[in-house]
Symmetry: C2
Subunit: 560 residues, 2 copies
């Protein structure tokens, strides 16, 4: 197995023994309590697995023994840790359940196939026996994408853990593509490609704990999507196992031989087939990585600069613009030891005031990757546009700090949840012409919903936002919200906040997700977004490929 | 109507009164005869419409009067010219039929809707009466994409001519998108956008006689696809009328809300719905257009240079590389008045020989479009790569000549067909690592098939090829072949050549079409290319959206 499961938290983010990122600075907790209007932070530890009851496994000994004899390479587990680990993904909502010891949806068994043949055998046997199969990569879904639920009338549910399928199958250095098994984790994938001098360049925040198959199935985006592309852009083709049979999707650089049906797999969330391997576009490892910070007087100025860079084809890797609150928050709660070199020293503040900046600027991180000439050209062109929009260059310090902590935010959630705080994120995308309207609407909706669900008067949450992915026609918005948890009704509190924000997205022209996916959590808003005909089309595809509806029931489409 | 149909040829390319491009240089015909091993070129004029019998229209007076009363904006015609004009597309195969006066598949009526409501009414009425509907834009299909055939058991066929729907509906200057009715011709579209300082930049060779809806439905590519993208890249969303109801596809810059089902429309060839309007990505009109010629010693050297430019992200608009035979042919038969400035003056030849060029170089046209800075950067970076691959700069002369005659090749076909010659083209795409193998296989297959179908010993054809569209992972190959027609069995001759080339494509890793589409002509090779599951998926989508199979029967999928 590529990552020893026993080293991972079954009810939180990452390694069991990951050092507490807040431990070294206890004063931060006092400042956090103050920021949220709390006198003190309560202690709200998660239940230990030993305290939790799991549902009785439903698979018959006959089915288990047939699994063993037919899927010969597969490992099969029914132990409590494996079942608990695979019960749900890693959303805030999931963690509320897991930390409370609610394992109602633990799978009846966890099966780790060794190869595509195993997957085919497993789908054949589960089809025959009407057992649900939930494809599982890193399990890092934050939208309820891997909740181990069976559909109506199904006799059990298997979590199909793909992480033993992690081989780099082939590299085509001329076409700059690679074919890789779907269960490979981010670090393994980059290590395997790196030994050829290559990179996929897909670095989502979940990079360390998510897999290639998951990135494709959830239509994910890496932080450097401007250069390397969102999954739908770097995806070339996949091989799938479906209950109807194997499918190798189209693998041409471009074609007019009908619609490219393989594109349906990107965002399919495991409901029509299990991705066993995929061919993806790769790049030479970049010669240079150049990450810099800038300040804009307003969020709108920064948005304008990003739009112009995207529309002028400036070859950037990442353009990440925080709104004023996010800029302030990360500055205030920075745990960086080098805070004296931060964006907000008092000298810098005075200087910025002279330049017409108030106390609420927007921090912009511009990341460039590639060969020296590309970087020089991009620096020159981006510099002109940033300057024209009033941006102020902070140098490489903020860029380097962002880069070195680019995967660390999720590690903050467990300790915060141990202290009575909730942390969730959501994201959307829209056209440039609608971006500021959507931003205000969702931010305000989140603020109101959080204010309306505070456990006591005087308590308050924060809503932070940034633009992180951009296109010629629009961009994404990413919201992080942190709030005192209403411990007596914390699921209701989450549902209220989530529904209010989702309504604001839906009624203000945003998509319900730019890169997290749909899962169960976004399903109520999907039909209105995609329209009746699109949903009928999706259902028709599902019926054709998975006629019994055994694959990931209830995700992306209502369960039959 | 946007183009007066009466001004167009019903059985050939373009305007009735288009000047014969060969008329000014009669000696060319003698040289052509010699090149093809023919003593003289026969006279093989097309039949005139007056000499041709059309099938009796099958639509009942009741249906026609209901069409008139329900689709109130629509114009309906059953006259011979309109029916003949809409019988088929404009492939060589189509022209063999049309010029011979074979109008077996003329539609029973031609209907021109004025808007989306008309289209909805027409689909409702034709569904009810089981009448086939063939969506028709410019009718320039070269793959049998608009042959007016009804399916089994259907009581008639209507050609749905979309060209009265040609309004620019809206422009979003911030998001750089425009929403345009689907029946707009290329020149109208660029004129409408041009008045806003914008361009779509989609200039296929058929630009003057093809429409937005057709470009999307056939998954087409413009000559400057490196900058502006193939249809699937500039397509944002569409509104469709389908027998199941209206569909507005997803219109976000990016999303993870499931697969983007709107992508299915690109390449759908009218079999699931009629595109009534589309939102597309637009650009500022380029400040600079810079087209230049280069020579490479070999086709392989040129391919290597294009690959490196594509993979290094050099911002080109067009990279077009002719093989040695195409380079020679267009030089030999250039009708350009400025031939003294051509690539092959004797002085230049002597100079090139000194540089190690033999008589069989490959001509490369590099087109750059954009703002001054982008062009300067692209010239610098492309220059380095071209030089490293042994390319020789010819200046802007060959580039300008190519640019000024970029739509003229199709006009040559009619006069050649009047002189006993056949001209056809086909195209494919594959990975860079397979491009030279595919090129040789298809070229050799075409040469052999043509040689095997010559009407007399000593006669011969020519096979010309170029690379015209490129991606990071591969490129397209475009073949033009010209041959003495076997007048007693010209359909068999075409079928033999087409099948032989298509087999060579299929067995050597190419797609059956990069940008022409599938239609009827490529259908025999589609299932093997896309695979059983993909074809079942496509059929399931068709059944859902067009349960009676009235839309464009027999294209892209076998007729029910």
């Amino acid at each position: 197995m590529s990552i020893d499961r026993a080293r991972l938290r079954w009810n939180g983010w990452g390694w069991v023994d990951h050092p507490d990122p807040t431990a070294a600075s206890p004063d931060i907790w006092a400042r956090i309590a103050e920021a949220f209007g709390m006198e003190a932070l309560p202690s709200t530890p998660a239940k230990r697995l030993e305290e939790v009851d799991l549902p009785r496994p439903r698979l018959s000994p006959d089915v288990l023994s047939r699994l063993e004899s037919e899927a010969r390479g597969a490992k099969i587990s029914t132990d409590a840790f494996e079942r608990a680990m695979h019960a749900r993904g890693r959303s805030y909502h999931d963690l509320l359940h897991l930390r409370a010891g609610n394992l109602e949806f633990a799978p009846d068994a966890v099966v780790y196939p060794a190869g595509a043949e195993d997957v085919a055998h497993i789908l054949s046997l589960t089809s025959e026996n009407n057992i649900a199969v939930v494809p599982f990569g890193g399990g890092s879904s934050v939208v309820g994408g891997v909740t181990s639920k069976s559909g109506a009338g199904q006799s059990g549910v298997i979590s199909l853990d793909m992480t033993r399928m992690h081989r780099l199958l082939s590299v085509d250095r001329i076409a700059m593509t690679a074919t890789i098994e779907a269960g490979i984790y981010g670090p393994q994938l980059e290590e395997a490609l790196g030994s050829h001098g290559l990179t996929l360049g897909h670095y989502p925040q979940s990079f360390e704990f998510s897999t290639l198959g998951g990135w494709i199935a959830a239509r994910g985006a890496g932080q450097q999507s401007n250069r390397y592309g969102k999954a739908e852009k770097w995806f070339v083709s996949a091989r799938l196992a479906s209950p109807t049979g194997p499918w190798s999707t189209e693998n041409f650089p471009a074609s007019a031989a009908g619609p490219r049906l393989g594109d349906l797999i990107v965002g399919s969330e495991g409901i029509v087939g299990v991705i066993t391997d995929a061919t993806v576009k790769v790049h030479s490892k970049p010669e240079v990585k150049d990450y810099r910070g800038y300040l804009f007087k307003t969020f709108a100025d920064g948005i304008s600069a990003i739009r112009q860079m995207a529309q002028h084809g400036v070859p950037t890797a990442m353009m990440r613009l925080s709104d004023a609150d996010e800029t302030w928050f990360f500055q205030a709660f920075s745990t960086s030891p080098s805070s004296s070199s931060s964006a907000f020293t008092s000298i810098a503040k005075r200087y910025l005031a002279l330049k017409g900046f108030d106390d609420r600027p927007s921090l912009f991180i511009l990341g460039l990757e590639g060969d020296r000439e590309t970087i020089d050209y991009a620096r020159h062109r981006s510099g002109t546009i940033i300057k024209a929009n009033g941006g102020f260059h902070l140098g490489t310090g903020p860029g380097d700090r962002w880069y070195h902590s680019r995967f660390s935010a999720p590690f903050m959630r467990d300790p915060m949840m141990d202290h009575g705080l909730g942390v969730d994120t959501l994201e959307t995308a829209t056209q440039w012409s609608n971006l500021e309207k959507l931003y205000s609407a969702v931010r305000d909706a989140l603020r109101e919903a959080i204010a309306g669900t505070m456990p006591s008067p005087g308590m308050r949450g924060v809503v932070l936002a940034h633009v992180s992915h951009s296109y010629t026609d629009g961009a994404s918005l990413y919201f992080t919200f942190i709030f005192p948890r209403n411990l007596t009704q914390e699921l209701d509190q989450w549902r209220t906040i989530k529904a209010t924000a989702s309504e604001a997205i839906a009624t203000n022209g945003g998509t319900i997700s730019h890169h997290h996916g749909v899962g169960e959590d976004h399903l109520p808003w999907l039909r209105a977004e995609k329209g009746e005909i699109a949903m009928r089309t999706l259902a028709a595809i599902k019926r054709e490929l998975d006629p019994k509806g055994i694959l990931n029931p209830g995700k992306l489409l209502p369960s039959a």
